[in-house]
Symmetry: C2
């Protein structure tokens, strides 16, 4: 398999992207070939500087870059020779099996939704985020911002996609699905949560355990925590801020260290037809390595194919 | 002024309620007379045991109690001799100027909304919660669960009510109002947030500073943070769980200690015609004392009258 990587995306590109590539190639179990998309001379210089061993990558020149604050649709349309546009071109044409970028999130979403498109049967693709649990484990919150307004049928699909992802990528057996809500009992919640509950309850493709509350997000109650992207985004960013706060206050606690999302491997867009992984703008080498690993796993384990099956 | 207190409400009633009354009466600046509503013999015994000085309270017997898990509307209707029903009766008839309870929250809300009723012009009363800020200050999140589905006009009113409360009760001068959202720029958000932004921007009764994100909830960006009650409830309960987590992990940090909501004075229902303050079921003496102080301040500073004025 081949994974295309946007070497120009993120605040520390291309230097940290190159270091991430080196870490990935040195990692046990790494098996993909890499298409490194970006400014060829800058990348080649860095590859040389870091003694990245040849054989498993090629550099594909892109002489444009989409900036972090450019208008997504406009930039993607006008900058056909940008690293993001070329990455999507490689993916769409089958020259790559997955595409990874820490660049302009909006442009990545637009590319995924309009160039790669949703898996057949998926109403709306979604993005999720890993949530560190106090007991040492990890959960998944879905959606964390792609869909600020949702319908119950969409949340029901998010639950299925999150379940498949948690099982195949996070390695959680028979993941427990919880609906994020304002109370435990069935019937609680806003109109959306009230209407979603019976759909999740009736869904035989998931292990639905009922409503969960804000206090359960960081505990081991549910593995996949489902909500619309407004609530999910607010709570994700709140939790991200805990790392900075604990760092600032020199709390030095192993658990709060895990809120450093810099360490995570970005988030795949679940429900688009091919693996597309988006990283934080602040991604450093480790985050790039992890993103590439997530993309590899998604391809190897046929995550999107299995999602499609479960959504029929 | 007279404040009615439900002595039977909360997990540790009436013992902690009596201790809270003692703390309040001994507190500098406490000036209200108290109507202690509940089981007369139990309360009198405790008052004696704790040597509570007479002169500023009377005990009003109530031979029924609404349990924490009873159906609010049904219980309030059927248990006319309960401490909550009698408390509302005192308030409605003008024999008390405020009512405080750590009992069945649902019954308190039903009583406030249907016996005391909304301030003229208020679309929906709301409940808020103090949010400890990392810099040592405090903010206010409104709504935290009373209104899981909202309209833009309601959020606009929450902003005004929160602003008045922050100024008069929390002592924050010209409070900065932020709209909780998924991005900073105007135009971001779900349909509700998008439609609310221009209303807040045009509202000359508040100091609107724009959108805030999840990462700003615990920092000093905004003093009053406005959202519908679904998001507000989830994030409040998430933040509450941080105290337990930091306690369990023996983190011993002054800031995380402040997430112990047991110390706070409950939350008033903003927008009902008379001061009604609801406490956590887990309220202990300090929480009772603080609840009574909040009720006193709300009356003294004419908080509800000023809200009414600003909402015309």
């Amino acid at each position: 398999m081949t994974i295309a990587i946007d070497m120009m995306g993120g605040d520390f590109a291309p230097a940290e992207a190159v270091k991430g590539v080196l870490q990935y190639l040195s990692q046990e179990g790494s098996s993909a070939n890499l298409a490194l998309v970006g400014d060829e001379s800058a990348i080649s210089l860095l590859l040389k500087e870091h003694n990245v061993p040849g054989g498993r990558f090629q550099v594909i020149h892109a002489d444009q870059v989409i900036g972090m604050h450019e208008h997504p649709t406009k930039a993607l349309k006008e900058k056909q020779r940008s690293s993001i546009a070329i990455g999507f071109h490689l993916l769409a044409s089958g020259k790559a099996d997955a595409f990874v970028s820490a660049g302009n999130t909006g442009a990545m979403l637009v590319g995924a939704l309009f160039i790669i498109k949703a898996v057949e049967g998926v109403l709306r693709p979604t993005i999720s985020s890993v949530m560190p649990k106090e007991n040492g484990g990890a959960g998944l919150v879905v959606d964390v911002g792609l869909n600020a307004d949702c319908k119950p049928e969409q949340l029901n699909q998010f639950a299925v996609m999150g379940s498949v992802y948690a099982q195949l990528i996070l390695g959680i057996d028979n993941p427990r699905i919880g609906l994020i809500n304002v109370g435990e009992e069935e019937g609680k919640g806003n109109i959306l949560a009230q209407a979603t509950y019976p759909l999740l309850k009736a869904n035989s493709n998931i292990n639905f355990i009922g409503n969960i509350e804000g206090r359960d997000i960081l505990t081991d109650k549910a593995d996949v925590m489902v909500c619309e992207g407004f609530t999910g985004n607010v709570l994700l960013k709140l939790v991200e801020s805990l790392y900075e706060i604990s760092d600032k206050r020199r709390i030095n606690d192993e658990y709060f260290e895990r809120f450093n999302f810099e360490n995570y491997g970005g988030t795949p867009i679940l429900g688009v037809a091919k693996p597309v992984v988006i990283g934080h703008g602040i991604s450093k080498a480790k985050a790039f390595k992890n993103m590439i690993l997530v993309a590899q796993k998604m391809h190897e384990k046929n995550v999107l194919g299995i999602m499609k099956e479960k959504l029929q």
